[in-house]
Protein backbone atom coordinates (compact mmCIF):
# COMPACT_ATOMS: atom_id res chain seq x y z
CA UNK A 1 0.00 0.00 0.00
CA UNK A 2 1.06 3.56 -0.62
CA UNK A 3 2.58 5.62 2.16
CA UNK A 4 3.19 9.37 2.04
CA UNK A 5 6.03 10.47 4.32
CA UNK A 6 6.58 14.07 5.41
CA UNK A 7 9.98 15.14 6.75
CA UNK A 8 10.17 18.57 8.38
CA UNK A 9 12.92 20.49 10.19
CA UNK A 10 12.57 20.04 13.93
CA UNK A 11 11.18 22.98 15.88
CA UNK A 12 14.00 25.07 17.29
CA UNK A 13 16.50 23.87 14.70
CA UNK A 14 17.74 26.47 12.23
CA UNK A 15 16.01 26.11 8.87
CA UNK A 16 17.86 28.45 6.49
CA UNK A 17 15.73 27.36 3.52
CA UNK A 18 12.49 28.13 5.36
CA UNK A 19 13.82 31.48 6.48
CA UNK A 20 14.91 32.52 2.99
CA UNK A 21 11.62 31.35 1.43
CA UNK A 22 9.69 33.29 4.08
CA UNK A 23 11.73 36.41 3.38
CA UNK A 24 11.14 36.02 -0.37
CA UNK A 25 7.39 35.66 0.16
CA UNK A 26 7.39 38.84 2.22
CA UNK A 27 9.36 40.62 -0.48
CA UNK A 28 6.65 39.58 -2.94
CA UNK A 29 4.04 41.24 -0.76
CA UNK A 30 2.78 38.25 1.25
CA UNK A 31 3.31 40.14 4.48
CA UNK A 32 1.11 37.88 6.61
CA UNK A 33 3.21 34.75 6.15
CA UNK A 34 5.25 33.31 9.03
CA UNK A 35 6.68 30.01 10.27
CA UNK A 36 7.77 28.76 6.84
CA UNK A 37 9.49 25.36 6.95
CA UNK A 38 10.96 23.55 3.96
CA UNK A 39 10.99 19.76 4.19
CA UNK A 40 10.72 16.63 2.07
CA UNK A 41 7.79 14.63 0.76
CA UNK A 42 8.52 10.96 0.03
CA UNK A 43 6.05 8.53 -1.53
CA UNK A 44 6.65 4.79 -1.24
CA UNK A 45 4.87 1.46 -1.59
CA UNK A 46 4.93 -1.06 1.26
CA UNK A 47 3.80 -4.66 0.75
CA UNK A 48 2.23 -5.00 4.19
CA UNK A 49 -0.61 -7.20 5.46
CA UNK A 50 -2.52 -4.26 6.87
CA UNK A 51 -2.22 -0.60 7.76
CA UNK A 52 -0.86 -1.33 11.25
CA UNK A 53 2.01 -3.35 9.80
CA UNK A 54 2.64 -0.65 7.20
CA UNK A 55 2.81 1.98 9.94
CA UNK A 56 5.33 -0.04 11.94
CA UNK A 57 7.50 -0.65 8.89
CA UNK A 58 7.39 3.00 7.84
CA UNK A 59 8.27 4.18 11.35
CA UNK A 60 11.37 1.98 11.27
CA UNK A 61 12.32 3.31 7.83
CA UNK A 62 11.99 6.88 9.05
CA UNK A 63 14.04 6.26 12.18
CA UNK A 64 16.74 4.37 10.31
CA UNK A 65 17.19 6.39 7.12
CA UNK A 66 14.47 8.72 5.88
CA UNK A 67 14.76 11.28 8.69
CA UNK A 68 17.69 12.44 10.80
CA UNK A 69 16.38 12.37 14.38
CA UNK A 70 18.86 15.10 15.37
CA UNK A 71 17.28 17.74 13.19
CA UNK A 72 14.10 16.42 11.60
CA UNK A 73 10.61 15.24 12.53
CA UNK A 74 8.60 12.83 10.44
CA UNK A 75 4.96 11.98 9.96
CA UNK A 76 3.16 9.87 7.36
CA UNK A 77 -0.18 8.86 5.93
CA UNK A 78 -0.98 5.26 5.01
CA UNK A 79 -3.31 4.81 2.06
CA UNK A 80 -6.88 3.87 3.02
CA UNK A 81 -6.48 4.69 6.70
Amino acid sequence: MQVKVFITPRKGILDPQGRVVEQSLKTLGFGDVSGVKVGKYIVLEVAAKNAVAAREETTRMCQRLLANPNIEDFSFEVEGE
Partner: protein, 228 residues
Protein backbone atom coordinates in the same frame (compact mmCIF):
# COMPACT_ATOMS: atom_id res chain seq x y z
CA UNK B 1 51.50 5.93 11.42
CA UNK B 2 49.38 3.83 9.10
CA UNK B 3 46.40 5.67 7.57
CA UNK B 4 43.40 4.53 5.58
CA UNK B 5 41.56 6.98 3.31
CA UNK B 6 38.05 5.81 2.41
CA UNK B 7 36.89 6.34 -1.17
CA UNK B 8 33.12 6.49 -1.64
CA UNK B 9 31.42 6.95 -5.00
CA UNK B 10 31.40 10.74 -5.24
CA UNK B 11 34.42 11.36 -3.00
CA UNK B 12 36.45 14.30 -4.31
CA UNK B 13 39.28 14.89 -1.87
CA UNK B 14 40.42 11.29 -1.48
CA UNK B 15 43.45 11.69 -3.75
CA UNK B 16 44.42 15.01 -2.17
CA UNK B 17 44.17 13.49 1.30
CA UNK B 18 46.29 10.51 0.27
CA UNK B 19 48.84 12.86 -1.32
CA UNK B 20 48.95 15.11 1.76
CA UNK B 21 49.48 12.15 4.08
CA UNK B 22 51.90 10.09 2.01
CA UNK B 23 53.86 12.62 -0.04
CA UNK B 24 53.85 15.67 2.23
CA UNK B 25 53.56 14.22 5.72
CA UNK B 26 55.61 11.10 4.99
CA UNK B 27 52.98 8.79 6.44
CA UNK B 28 52.09 5.29 5.35
CA UNK B 29 48.68 5.71 3.72
CA UNK B 30 46.41 3.53 1.61
CA UNK B 31 43.10 4.00 -0.16
CA UNK B 32 40.16 1.96 1.12
CA UNK B 33 37.13 1.15 -1.05
CA UNK B 34 33.63 1.70 0.32
CA UNK B 35 32.51 -1.82 -0.60
CA UNK B 36 35.33 -3.46 1.34
CA UNK B 37 35.14 -4.24 5.02
CA UNK B 38 38.87 -4.48 5.81
CA UNK B 39 40.58 -1.38 7.13
CA UNK B 40 43.95 -2.82 6.14
CA UNK B 41 45.46 -2.45 9.58
CA UNK B 42 45.12 1.34 9.54
CA UNK B 43 45.64 3.18 12.84
CA UNK B 44 43.74 6.23 11.69
CA UNK B 45 40.85 6.36 9.23
CA UNK B 46 40.22 9.50 7.17
CA UNK B 47 36.82 10.11 5.58
CA UNK B 48 37.42 12.67 2.81
CA UNK B 49 35.28 15.45 1.38
CA UNK B 50 33.10 15.23 -1.66
CA UNK B 51 29.53 14.31 -2.49
CA UNK B 52 29.31 10.66 -1.49
CA UNK B 53 26.38 8.91 -3.18
CA UNK B 54 25.42 12.25 -4.73
CA UNK B 55 24.42 13.64 -1.31
CA UNK B 56 21.04 11.99 -1.93
CA UNK B 57 18.45 12.33 0.84
CA UNK B 58 20.89 14.11 3.18
CA UNK B 59 24.64 14.63 3.00
CA UNK B 60 26.33 11.47 4.28
CA UNK B 61 23.02 9.66 4.86
CA UNK B 62 23.64 6.87 2.34
CA UNK B 63 27.40 6.60 2.80
CA UNK B 64 26.98 5.70 6.46
CA UNK B 65 25.38 2.38 5.47
CA UNK B 66 28.19 1.36 3.11
CA UNK B 67 30.05 -1.86 4.05
CA UNK B 68 33.27 -0.06 5.07
CA UNK B 69 31.36 2.17 7.49
CA UNK B 70 30.26 -0.85 9.49
CA UNK B 71 33.97 -1.59 10.01
CA UNK B 72 34.73 2.07 10.75
CA UNK B 73 31.97 2.17 13.38
CA UNK B 74 33.40 -0.91 15.08
CA UNK B 75 36.94 0.52 14.81
CA UNK B 76 35.77 3.75 16.48
CA UNK B 77 33.90 1.82 19.17
CA UNK B 78 37.18 0.04 19.96
CA UNK B 79 38.91 3.42 20.38
CA UNK B 80 40.44 3.73 16.89
CA UNK B 81 41.16 7.23 15.55
CA UNK B 82 38.78 8.56 12.88
CA UNK B 83 38.88 11.98 11.24
CA UNK B 84 36.27 13.26 8.77
CA UNK B 85 36.68 16.42 6.72
CA UNK B 86 33.71 18.16 5.10
CA UNK B 87 31.59 15.33 3.65
CA UNK B 88 33.47 13.01 5.99
CA UNK B 89 32.24 15.12 8.92
CA UNK B 90 28.69 14.88 7.56
CA UNK B 91 28.99 11.09 7.30
CA UNK B 92 30.28 10.81 10.89
CA UNK B 93 27.29 12.83 12.14
CA UNK B 94 24.85 10.68 10.15
CA UNK B 95 26.51 7.56 11.58
CA UNK B 96 26.01 9.01 15.10
CA UNK B 97 29.75 8.75 15.69
CA UNK B 98 29.61 12.51 16.28
CA UNK B 99 26.81 14.59 17.82
CA UNK B 100 24.73 17.08 15.84
CA UNK B 101 24.20 17.49 12.12
CA UNK B 102 25.23 19.69 9.21
CA UNK B 103 22.61 21.55 7.22
CA UNK B 104 22.38 24.11 4.44
CA UNK B 105 24.58 27.23 4.84
CA UNK B 106 22.56 30.19 6.08
CA UNK B 107 23.16 31.98 2.77
CA UNK B 108 21.97 28.86 0.89
CA UNK B 109 25.01 29.33 -1.35
CA UNK B 110 28.09 27.17 -1.81
CA UNK B 111 31.07 28.77 -0.08
CA UNK B 112 34.65 28.34 -1.30
CA UNK B 113 37.13 30.51 0.56
CA UNK B 114 39.97 30.62 3.06
CA UNK B 115 38.75 31.11 6.61
CA UNK B 116 40.19 31.03 10.13
CA UNK B 117 39.45 28.68 12.98
CA UNK B 118 40.54 28.85 16.60
CA UNK B 119 41.70 25.79 18.50
CA UNK B 120 39.36 25.44 21.47
CA UNK B 121 40.76 22.23 22.92
CA UNK B 122 44.40 21.24 22.38
CA UNK B 123 44.26 18.20 24.65
CA UNK B 124 43.01 15.81 21.97
CA UNK B 125 44.81 13.40 19.62
CA UNK B 126 43.84 15.73 16.75
CA UNK B 127 45.15 18.99 18.19
CA UNK B 128 47.97 18.03 20.55
CA UNK B 129 50.66 19.68 18.38
CA UNK B 130 48.91 23.04 18.91
CA UNK B 131 47.94 25.27 21.79
CA UNK B 132 44.51 26.39 22.87
CA UNK B 133 43.76 29.71 21.16
CA UNK B 134 45.96 29.02 18.13
CA UNK B 135 44.42 30.31 14.90
CA UNK B 136 44.61 28.20 11.73
CA UNK B 137 44.02 29.46 8.19
CA UNK B 138 42.25 26.71 6.25
CA UNK B 139 40.09 26.51 3.14
CA UNK B 140 36.41 25.58 3.19
CA UNK B 141 34.26 24.53 0.23
CA UNK B 142 30.77 23.39 1.07
CA UNK B 143 27.08 24.04 0.66
CA UNK B 144 25.97 22.32 3.85
CA UNK B 145 28.26 23.20 6.72
CA UNK B 146 25.91 24.86 9.18
CA UNK B 147 26.44 22.89 12.38
CA UNK B 148 23.31 22.31 14.45
CA UNK B 149 22.60 20.41 17.64
CA UNK B 150 19.98 20.76 20.38
CA UNK B 151 20.87 23.58 22.80
CA UNK B 152 21.17 21.21 25.79
CA UNK B 153 23.56 18.97 23.87
CA UNK B 154 25.67 21.98 22.83
CA UNK B 155 26.02 22.99 26.47
CA UNK B 156 27.16 19.49 27.44
CA UNK B 157 29.60 19.38 24.52
CA UNK B 158 31.13 22.72 25.52
CA UNK B 159 31.55 21.55 29.11
CA UNK B 160 33.26 18.35 28.03
CA UNK B 161 35.52 20.22 25.59
CA UNK B 162 34.10 18.51 22.51
CA UNK B 163 34.05 21.75 20.52
CA UNK B 164 37.52 21.53 19.00
CA UNK B 165 37.49 24.29 16.35
CA UNK B 166 35.48 27.49 16.10
CA UNK B 167 35.31 29.97 13.21
CA UNK B 168 37.03 33.26 14.03
CA UNK B 169 38.72 36.20 12.37
CA UNK B 170 42.45 36.32 11.57
CA UNK B 171 43.19 37.58 15.10
CA UNK B 172 41.18 34.85 16.80
CA UNK B 173 38.16 37.05 17.54
CA UNK B 174 34.71 35.56 17.31
CA UNK B 175 32.44 37.72 15.16
CA UNK B 176 29.31 36.93 13.19
CA UNK B 177 31.09 37.98 9.99
CA UNK B 178 33.80 35.39 10.66
CA UNK B 179 31.21 32.60 10.82
CA UNK B 180 30.96 31.71 7.12
CA UNK B 181 27.98 29.36 7.17
CA UNK B 182 26.01 30.39 10.26
CA UNK B 183 27.00 27.39 12.39
CA UNK B 184 25.57 27.39 15.91
CA UNK B 185 28.17 28.77 18.32
CA UNK B 186 30.46 29.18 15.27
CA UNK B 187 31.37 25.50 15.51
CA UNK B 188 33.75 24.30 12.79
CA UNK B 189 34.92 21.00 14.29
CA UNK B 190 33.77 18.63 17.04
CA UNK B 191 34.93 15.43 18.69
CA UNK B 192 33.00 12.60 20.33
CA UNK B 193 32.98 12.12 24.10
CA UNK B 194 35.95 9.74 23.96
CA UNK B 195 37.95 12.11 21.75
CA UNK B 196 38.86 9.44 19.21
CA UNK B 197 36.51 10.69 16.47
CA UNK B 198 36.88 14.18 15.02
CA UNK B 199 34.97 15.96 12.28
CA UNK B 200 35.61 19.37 10.74
CA UNK B 201 34.27 21.32 7.77
CA UNK B 202 37.61 22.96 6.79
CA UNK B 203 40.09 21.02 4.66
CA UNK B 204 43.48 20.43 6.32
CA UNK B 205 44.52 18.28 3.33
CA UNK B 206 44.30 21.36 1.09
CA UNK B 207 46.61 23.35 3.38
CA UNK B 208 49.85 21.40 3.52
CA UNK B 209 52.06 23.28 1.04
CA UNK B 210 53.00 26.97 0.99
CA UNK B 211 52.66 27.00 -2.79
CA UNK B 212 48.95 26.27 -2.36
CA UNK B 213 48.35 29.05 0.12
CA UNK B 214 49.27 27.74 3.53
CA UNK B 215 50.49 24.85 5.65
CA UNK B 216 48.29 25.08 8.75
CA UNK B 217 46.57 21.83 7.83
CA UNK B 218 49.78 19.98 8.62
CA UNK B 219 49.33 20.73 12.32
CA UNK B 220 46.27 18.50 12.49
CA UNK B 221 48.01 15.60 10.74
CA UNK B 222 51.14 16.14 12.86
CA UNK B 223 49.02 15.97 16.00
CA UNK B 224 47.52 12.65 14.98
CA UNK B 225 50.80 11.17 13.76
CA UNK B 226 52.57 12.19 16.97
CA UNK B 227 50.49 9.64 18.84
CA UNK B 228 52.07 6.66 17.15
Amino acid sequence: MKWGVVRFPGSLDDNDALYALAEVMGQEAAMLWHKDTSLGGAECILLPGGFSYGDYLRTGAIARFSPIMQSVEKFAADGGLVIGTCNGFQILCEAHLLPGALTRNRTLSFICERIHVRVENARTPFTRAMRQGDVLALPIKHGEGLYVAPEAELRDMEERGQVILRYCDAGGGETDAANPNGSMRAIAGVANERFNVFGLMPHPEHAVEAMLGGIDGRKIFESIAARA
